[in-house]
Amino acid sequence: MKKMIVLIGNYGSGKTELALNFAFKAAERGERTELIDLDMVNTFFRLTERGRLARLREIRVVSPNYASSGIESLSVPAEVQSAFAMDWDTVVFDVGGDAVGSTALGRYHQDFMELEPGALEVLNVVNIRRPLAGTVEKIMHLQEEMQIHGRLKITGMINNTNLAQMSSPAELRDGYEMIREVSEKTGVPVAYTSGKKALLDQFLAEGHDPRYIGTPFPIDTYMQRDWDSWVKGLGGPSEQVLFESAGGWGPNERKKWERDSLTAQET
């Protein structure tokens, strides 16, 4: 059965990082995987910039027209339809932040409704360390708004509470407490708890109620940048330089993009 994972959530909650992780894990299992960048809101630091990493894993990537090209007026490509029309094992949608980002899903309402029962997971990625998702009320309000704008019912939440480079198990623990309350009030289950493996293991060892943890989902970070190892007050060398160019749009980037889009056309 085709499985579809739709990631929505507040802006900056970690949807893109999770989308890459869901897709890469599916591909590692040998599944035919498609990754759809449906972020129509954000201009910078988007999934498409890591398209090459996905294609190296034989994942098909669909990006909005003009994504990462230095133009802000993105448009939804017809190719998104391939998620529904073609025979995939796993399709992951990385949707833009907040209700305004979820709006892009509305156009595919009919397609989503025609999926087999149980095939669709609509996941609200929550990071309570983001100011706009910092209280139970804010999370519930946003959840409601995103469902209306995206015309999809949220099937589960992901506790992805983190402070980027400064994360500790306390983030997951505080997230757990707050999201548990949201879950009790709304009836939306906690589907996953995600974080870097070491932190996740520490959190799990604390023995919390598994009903509010869901499936533990250890992640790797792929959106890391050359400058990310230096947060004020934090020392330590860069973990790994994952990408040759850091976010800019120079001649090398352009060549890479042209090469990639040619390859995409060939397939």
Partner: protein
């Protein structure tokens, strides 16, 4: 205090409000539109005023007007928008109006592109508008540093009665980092402390207390006196307000000079090279006006230092100040990209290795 994960633009906007800013006038432009967006929602919550002006020119003139009342006022824009503001900035400097101006730099010249850049260094520190004036100019290198600078920016602006400019490359506004947000400052306009401010003089009041906000001095004598006054202020600021960071420069053979986000890439290079046995260091100006000439000279003019590599995302603008500081005392090379491409650790390393090999 609890850390939160904030995007640079949100954090800078919130910090401005916590520092007492209650007036924001601006106009949207990428990559800083999130600042007015945030302000539009937040200002009404704190009893402040958000106003989207009809243009950048209008916005800076609104800043001029509101700052004249002694209120804490801020505007933000990105490179082409800041170009439009230059006349107003010069007027604010001439009329000695404290205010804060944010430039989230993108590629140029002209419309350039919407990616991060450092191409407005000249515009910021060498005077983008007309006349002999300076702005206290800061180049934050992290979101937290931008917040910390914002918390004293209005105090400095008021102390010297001069505008403060944030020269932040687009990455600073767009990146998301864990930050600690300081408590709200309780700021109220105190006419005693700001006798120059226009706070409601009416006929019959003490004529001595009538505030006049003005940058026009028609006769040569009074303009000359006014300029001498400004220059005395700048001399004082030069003496007191230089900020910089020395990172492992004590025993360094090769010193990188960089500001903003590039300095963070450079820091990683310093550590990587030291792990490989090359003694590298970083000198990072935090205030770019006043530029920390003496501190840089001191860091570089030691025996042992073999060369300086200046790295920027422009054609080598701060490079001129670096050279002025070093006065030919050591070889200085430049590495940078145009068109908003950020130098990578690998590129900077290879440049230093070339210097090491004497190329």
């Amino acid at each position: 205090m609890a850390l939160t994960l904030m995007k640079g633009s949100e954090a800078i906007a919130e910090a401005a409000i916590r520092a007492g800013a209650r007036f924001f006038f601006g106009y949207p432009i990428t990559p800083q539109t999130e600042i007015p967006e945030y302000m539009s929602a937040r200002m009404p919550e704190v009893g402040g005023c958000f106003l989207q002006a009809e243009s950048e020119v209008a916005a800076i003139n609104m800043v001029y007007g509101a700052a004249g009342t002694g209120a804490r006022v801020i505007t933000s824009s990105s490179s082409p928008g800041v170009s439009l503001k230059q006349e107003g900035i010069s007027y604010c400097a001439g009329a000695q109006l404290p205010c804060v101006i944010l430039n989230v730099m993108r590629g140029g010249p002209g419309l350039g592109n919407i990616q991060a850049s450092q191409g407005d260094y000249f515009q910021g520190v060498k005077g983008g508008g007309n006349g002999d004036y300076h702005l206290l100019t800061y180049a934050p290198s992290s979101v937290q540093e931008a917040i910390d600078i914002m918390m004293f920016a209005f105090d400095k602006a008021e102390k010297y009665r001069m505008p403060v400019l944030f020269l932040a490359d687009g990455i600073i506004a767009q990146m998301m980092e864990p930050v600690e947000m300081p408590e709200m400052v309780d700021y109220k306009v105190d006419p005693e402390k700001k006798p120059w401010a226009c706070t409601g003089w009416k006929p019959g009041d003490d004529p001595a207390k009538r505030g006049v906000i003005n940058s026009i001095y028609i006769d040569t004598e009074s303009l000359s006196v006014h300029n001498a006054k400004l220059q005395a202020v700048y001399a004082e600021a030069r003496k007191n307000e230089q900020m910089w960071e020395n990172y492992k420069t004590d025993d360094a053979e090769f010193i990188i000079t960089a500001f903003g986000t590039v300095a963070r890439v450079a820091k990683t290079v310093v550590d990587q090279m030291r792990a490989e046995g090359v003694k590298a260091g970083l000198f990072r100006p935090i205030s770019v006006w006043p530029f920390p000439y003496d501190a840089l000279r001191e860091a570089v003019l030691r025996d042992g230092v073999k060369g300086v590599l200046d790295v920027e995302v422009n054609e080598g603008q701060m490079l001129e100040d670096v050279k002025l500081a070093i006065e030919g005392g050591k070889p200085v090379k430049f590495f940078g990209h145009l068109g908003s491409q950020f130098p990578t650790t690998a590129e900077i390393k290879s440049e230093i290795l070339k210097m090491k090999e004497g190329k």
